[in-house]
């Protein structure tokens, strides 16, 4: 069997016929028109893509509307990929659960459990086809860090404006709260299969990665956990697929 890559080119097969000097053009009017017309969107995309990916500048701001019209929604992109600075903290998602254990009447609140670390370790059990579960936590962490930042900004506003700002923020993040509630409900159901779960609550924290300059210190310096956000109790949702 011959090589799939070796091609016997016909004589002059790869050559581009040159436009005859002075004679009739080898390019028909129809071809010329269609190629030139197809070049228009290609050139537009090239320019829009260059501007879209360029760093912020006054020129980019002025061009934002037409550029976004070309790029969004099908060509939206972000190539910062661990840049300009990779994260220097590890996210922690703690969950505590309000439940009724066995036949007991009273409610019990569990101690907060780190649910992020075991999920982050899961891809190591199948390195060829690693699960995408850590991606869910990454998305939740990003959303709720933004929410916490927004909340902090709202708290800095004049007292009279605060309720309206908080309300707007809650509306904006309503879908993320539902997502978190459903996600925690599945985790709680898996962790306490025999209990009657009433409510779940999340605490988002961050722990800094040991700085490079301190990596060889003995004993290793303890990195204090920084609180980001604690949600209110959210009712348990049953019937979410595991």
């Amino acid at each position: 069997m011959g090589s799939p890559l070796v091609v016997n080119e016909p004589p002059g097969g790869g050559m581009v016929p040159s436009p005859s000097a002075g004679g009739r053009s080898p390019v028909s009017v129809r071809l010329r028109a269609s190629v030139l017309l197809s070049l228009v969107p290609v050139v537009l995309y090239t320019l829009a893509c260059l501007v879209y990916n360029a760093p912020a500048s006054p020129a980019k701001t002025r061009l934002a509307t037409p550029v976004n019209a070309v790029i969004n929604p099908y060509f939206g992109q972000d190539w910062m990929l661990f840049a300009p600075a990779p994260s220097t903290v590890n996210d922690i998602l703690m969950m505590d659960v309000k439940l009724k254990a066995g036949n007991s009447e009273g409610e019990t609140t569990t101690i907060p459990v780190d649910i992020e670390e075991p999920i982050d370790r899961m891809p190591r059990s199948n390195r060829v086809m690693p699960t995408k579960l850590p991606g869910v936590l990454l998305a939740l962490q990003e959303s709720f860090t933004n929410y916490a930042n927004g909340l902090n900004d709202a708290l800095k506003a004049p007292k009279a404006q605060q309720p309206a700002l908080e309300d707007a923020l809650s509306r904006r993040y309503a879908a993320e709260f539902v997502e978190l509630q459903r996600f925690l409900s599945i985790r709680a159901g898996t962790m306490y299969p025999d209990a009657q779960i009433i409510a779940v609550r999340a605490t988002f924290d961050k722990r800094p990665i040991t700085p490079f300059s301190e990596r060889d210190m003995h004993p290793a310096p303890k990195q204090p956990v920084q609180g980001v956000l604690q949600t209110a109790w959210m009712p348990y949702v049953s019937g979410v697929a595991d």
Partner: protein, 344 residues
């Protein structure tokens, strides 16, 4: 008036030359065929790696409910998963995605590319939480692949297809479309590396050479303690950080280079980088798609010359060790060089 006529004739000739350059011969057929195979394979892997959790990620009772997920869609965004909330519809679409990806990987062609694009976009839009850079790139590249001949190589009937393409007399619009699609793919990949390299070189942590130390210690991407330990070494960590920036920034210049060895070396370096990302950071689908995208950086003639260059190695690998025939007792074995000759 005469000056204008001369100018207009010269301009017309230039336009014709440009049109002929893009409409006479399909370019980067091999790279695009490899990209097709890899996108198809990566999509299958994307589905199968969480096959047991498919209901959790994409099902109608997922934690990311169809209502919440559809509200996160941008304007003009779509997903076939939102057409119905029935289990049967979900299972049909999900399994259809796997089958279509396999067909796309094997056969390619514009119709299967369109089917693959619709199903892949639908799956990605169903749950955007778990998307990464590779998925983003695949979404864009598959749209450009609609313009191209993606089954010119490594597909049933590819040889006949190439022969048919060569037999078409003169410049054609179909060829021009293919080449414009190929240009857009390569341009997009160049933008990925240029932007990524730019943002890295602008970052202080990357400049200090300690970025890989921090990346290797992010829990979600820490697949190996040995790798994290190596990145803690000031020389290795700095070298890996700087080499990453260098090969990313070099990409757009390498593809424009007239020297084939630069394009080949650049592509091989990037493949090495992405194999490392797959092995040590667990970003298998991302790494695969980037490898597929890098394949489009080389021209068809680069692949052909590379194939010829590695021929001795291939021969050595495929040649089976043969046993010398048993000699009748009492006879003398021929010298080694003669045996080699006999075998030949």
């Amino acid at each position: 008036m005469e000056k204008f006529r001369t100018f207009s004739a010269a301009a017309s000739r230039r336009v014709d030359r440009l049109i002929l350059a893009v409409s006479c011969q399909e370019r980067r057929l091999i790279g695009i065929a490899l990209l097709r195979i890899i996108i198809g394979f990566a999509t299958i892997l994307y589905c199968l790696s969480d096959y047991g959790h498919r209901q959790f990620f994409w099902g109608p009772h997922s934690y990311d409910s169809p209502q919440a997920a559809s509200s996160a869609l941008p304007r003009w965004g779509f997903s076939l998963y939102f057409v119905s909330n029935s289990e049967a519809w979900f299972e049909l679409l999900f399994h259809l995605t796997i089958v279509a990806s396999a067909l796309f990987m094997v056969f390619g062609g514009r119709i299967l590319t369109l089917v693959q694009a619709v199903l892949m976009w639908s799956l990605h839009n169903r749950n955007q939480d778990i998307l990464e850079g590779g998925d983003n790139l695949a979404q864009i590249l598959i749209l450009f692949m609609l313009l191209t001949v993606s089954n010119g190589y490594f597909a049933p009937g590819a040889k006949a297809r190439r022969a048919a393409l060569r037999q078409v007399p003169g410049p054609t619009f179909g060829t021009a479309l293919h080449n414009l699609g190929a240009y857009l793919i390569v341009f997009q990949v160049a933008i990925v590396y240029l932007a990524s390299g730019y943002w890295k070189i602008a970052g202080q942590v990357w400049q200090q050479g300690v970025a890989m130390y921090y990346v290797s210690r992010i829990n979600g991407f820490a697949m190996s303690t040995t790798y994290a330990h190596l990145m803690g070494n000031p020389f290795i960590g700095t070298a890996v950080s700087y080499v990453t920036i260098f090969i990313e920034l070099a990409f757009p210049f390498a593809i424009l280079s007239s020297k084939a060895w630069i394009r080949k070396a650049q592509t091989l370096s990037l493949e090495g980088l992405h194999l490392g990302i797959m092995a040590f950071m667990g970003l298998v689908c991302f790494g695969l798609i980037m490898i597929g995208a890098d394949c489009t950086a080389m021209r068809d003639e680069d692949y052909r010359s590379l194939w010829i260059q590695v021929a001795p190695l291939r021969k050595r690998l495929t040649r089976r060790p043969q046993r010398a025939p048993a000699l009748p007792s009492g006879s003398v074995a021929p010298p080694l060089d003669l045996r080699e000759e006999t075998r030949a």
